[in-house]
């Protein structure tokens, strides 16, 4: 293997690709009238030990290029392919994908759907077992790679019970099990918090140091500072610019924004987030909709359901979880950002505030009256991270009309007004599942508005979104708040939080303002 290290890890020559209609999934695409070219005459070389970042708006072709590199295009995602892609010297489009397996490691965006085993050690061993390695060799390799990537502490654990960040570290280690020469990362930080992203950075550096070439398709760019060697900007399936690291990092923030890219430096956003978190609720503007007192959220072991999974899934079951929440007020017209590390209870709090979970202790007041979960579920709505669970109908209009009679003319006119306000009129008769992620989010919100909800909670609405779509979500939050609703957004996205939130609640985390108050909602007790 070592003798061929001098060959380029990846050599893409004039590759064009157009997805067959059935496979046209990822990202935002044009209408039903055929798919545009996903890649259009792309050439790129990546040397061993080099880290190349592919950036650009959703649907620009960067994910497709990663799929060309690891052979998924055109062998799994079918379509019209032209050109040549030499991955570690092999013609990736023409050799069977198994030949590429030992040479290319792949990590994908969603930590939930890229592992096969319930047990982390089994997961690491899996690629080796598929290569037919003996038990001793597999165990030795698992130990080596785990040490190299600092995941020894995560061995023999139930993957379903690890945080997103921990799972993604296991995915990184698993991608390196066969000692690949190229590792392809497709939006690996889409669902991660700042600390987990920092871990990813360390792992990428380790791969580079051992001569592995790294190809990253990514919206969030800040974490790659200092490890990226080259930035390649895509637009409409073409490479529009290629920058050496120095030139790219020297670009002014508005030039970066002009290309539709996320910020290179998050420090201004983080400062703003800290300031908002420290300011608390002191100005007291806006009528309070919901107030919590002495709230403790979580789940205790008796309410856990049995879970089935591949071996090991039952181990460590029934762990209970508690999080003390400082008293919190959600006001009409304000957007509150709920931030904190992965696994600190943000989603549990959001579920409690919408009545989907019972508080362990404490009370919640709605418009000044103490209420139970049912009333909260009636008043609030949560746009889930996976919005696919929330759409039930065959057309967007029907979706909004669930619960209303088709002949209810008042409801119909309200439905039309909501569709219009959310820019959904053009899609009113489309199947919700044929829409893009952002459009689906708006349909779910439209349904909530039809039900007359006062509190709209969004769980990670911008994970995996480019700048333009992130800003659209921000604008949508603002419009919801301006319409007199209270908006709570659970997010790791500092750019969204800094740009659009009126207040930040740090549920936990490294933020200094959160340290002294157990619940993290610090500095709230200062009376105006």
């Amino acid at each position: 293997m070592d003798g061929s290290r001098s060959v380029e890890a990846l050599d893409v020559r004039d590759v064009s690709f157009r997805y067959d209609l059935a496979d046209a999934d990822g990202g935002v695409r044009g209408g039903a009238d055929g798919t545009p070219a996903a890649l259009d005459g792309v050439s790129l070389r990546v040397a061993p030990g080099e880290c190349v970042v592919l950036c650009g708006a959703s649907g620009c072709g960067k994910t497709t290029l990663t799929r060309v590199a690891n052979g998924l295009v055109p062998s799994f995602f079918h379509g019209g392919f032209a050109g040549t892609c030499l991955t570690c010297g092999l013609d990736a489009a023409r050799v069977p994908i198994d030949r590429l397996t030992p040479l290319v490691g792949s990590v994908f965006q969603n930590p939930k759907t890229q592992y096969f085993n319930a047990d982390s050690t089994d997961e690491l061993a899996f690629p080796c077992e598929n290569m037919g390695m003996g038990t001793e060799a597999v165990n030795r390799r698992v130990a080596q790679v785990a040490a190299r990537f600092g995941v020894e502490g995560l061995l023999d654990r139930d993957l379903m019970r690890l945080s997103g960040g921990q799972r993604q570290r296991i995915a990184m280690a698993a991608a390196n099990m066969l000692d690949p020469r190229l590792v392809v990362l497709d939006e690996p930080t889409g669902n991660l918090d700042a600390a987990a992203i920092e871990d990813m950075r360390v792992l990428v550096r380790r791969m580079k140091d051992s001569g592995v070439a790294v190809l990253v398709a990514e919206h969030r760019l800040a974490w790659l500072n200092g490890i990226a060697d080259r930035y390649v900007v895509f637009d409409g399936g073409r490479i529009v610019r290629s920058y050496a690291v120095g030139d790219f990092l020297a670009l002014a923030p508005d030039e970066i924004a002009g290309m539709g890219l996320r910020a290179l430096d998050l420090e201004p956003c983080r400062r703003r987030v800290r300031a908002l978190a420290a300011a608390g609720d002191e100005d007291g503007s806006g009528a309070p909709l919901l107030r919590t007192r002495g709230l403790i959220v979580g789940h205790d072991r008796r309410r856990r359901r049995p879970r089935f999974g591949f071996g090991g899934a039952g181990r460590g079951a029934g762990r209970s979880f508690r999080r003390v929440v400082g008293d919190l007020t959600l006001r009409r017209g304000l957007i509150v950002g709920l931030m904190g590390r992965n696994g600190c209870g943000k989603t549990t709090l959001a579920r409690t505030l919408t009545g989907l979970a019972k508080p362990l202790e404490g009370s919640i007041e709605l418009e000044g009256r103490e209420v139970g979960p049912h009333a909260l579920t009636r008043a609030g709505f949560m746009v889930m991270q996976d919005v696919n669970y929330q759409l039930f109908s065959a057309s967007v209009r029907e979706e909004l009309m669930i619960g209303f009679g088709a002949d209810d003319s008042d409801a119909r006119s309200r439905c039309d007004a909501i569709l219009d306000a959310l820019d959904l009129t053009a899609f009113a008769d489309r199947h919700p599942m044929s829409l893009s992620g952002g459009q689906k989010q708006r349909v779910a919100i439209g349904a909530a508005l039809m039900c007359g909800k006062d509190l709209i909670v969004l769980d990670e609405p911008t994970s995996g979104l480019d700048r333009l779509h992130m800003e659209r979500v921000g604008g949508l939050l603002r419009r919801l708040a301006d319409g007199g609703r209270a908006v709570l957004v659970v997010t790791h996205d500092e750019e969204l939080a800094a740009g659009w939130c009126d207040r930040i609640v740090m549920l936990d985390g490294p933020d200094p303002s959160a340290r002294d108050a157990p619940a993290g909602v610090a500095a709230r007790r200062r009376t105006p």
């Binding site: 998924l72 799994f76 994908i97 198994d98 397996t101 290319v104 490691g105 792949s106 994908f108 939930k112 759907t113 890229q114 096969f116 085993n117 319930a118 047990d119 050690t121 089994d122 061993a125 899996f126 690629p127 077992e129 598929n130 037919g132 390695m133 003996g134 038990t135 597999v138 165990n139 698992v142 061995l155 023999d156 698993a174 359901r305 049995p306 089935f308 999974g309 591949f310 071996g311 090991g312 039952g314 181990r315 919408t354 579920t377 009636r378 609030g380 709505f381 949560m382 889930m384 996976d386 696919n388 669970y389 929330q390 759409l391 039930f392 669930i402 619960g403 599942m433 909530a448 039900c451």
Partner: protein, 238 residues
Amino acid sequence: MGSSASRTGPHTLDPRTKLVLLLFANLMLFFHVVLVTQLVMAALFLTPMAVEGRTRMASRFAVAVAALTALSMIDPDAMGVPQLHVVSALAVGVSMMLPCFMTGAYAVATTSASAFVYALRRMRAPEAVVVPCVVIIRFFPTVARDYRSIREAMALRGIASGAAAWLRHPARSLEYVLVPLLMNATTVAQDLSVAALTKGLGREGAHTSRTAIRMRACDWGMMAAATLPLVADIAGVV
């Protein structure tokens, strides 16, 4: 690499034995075995589950078997409540399917993906069978979680999702659950297949398993014990 011992211990059945038990459970459904056979087989299926430390799963299934058996034995006419025929008929139907759930849950919960791949390949199953099988088995655990999320989404929209709703509008309730479930399933299946391919699941040639897999005395014993009542029932001896 110590603690995978929970699976490699002396009490673990071979994946092939688990597949045979699953096959037996389906045969029971196919041949409409009598109640005695059902109970004997249920006890046999629950034993390895309990021995491997899945006591909670085993006890839940045991309770389900007992409850369904009791319900299926009620005599609505004697009680003067003919409406209860629905209940007893449902109980009979579900208790016939229960063995499939038991053996399926046991197989999925106690076997690593690579052990399944290895076992299937040893049985000379073709590639076109192995890859979808593993993807489907990996897919099961996500369904329970999906279902809960969908129930919550329905609650937020004010769509009734409890037992009463299922009884009153079974077709509509099913549609509300199935549409998002299936739509999500296509995405998950695609993601899993992609991950499988990049990890070499589809590679031709020998695959191995870190977990020691071989047929032992307990495997043959288990199969023999399960064959006996089943054959006796089908032959009409019981």
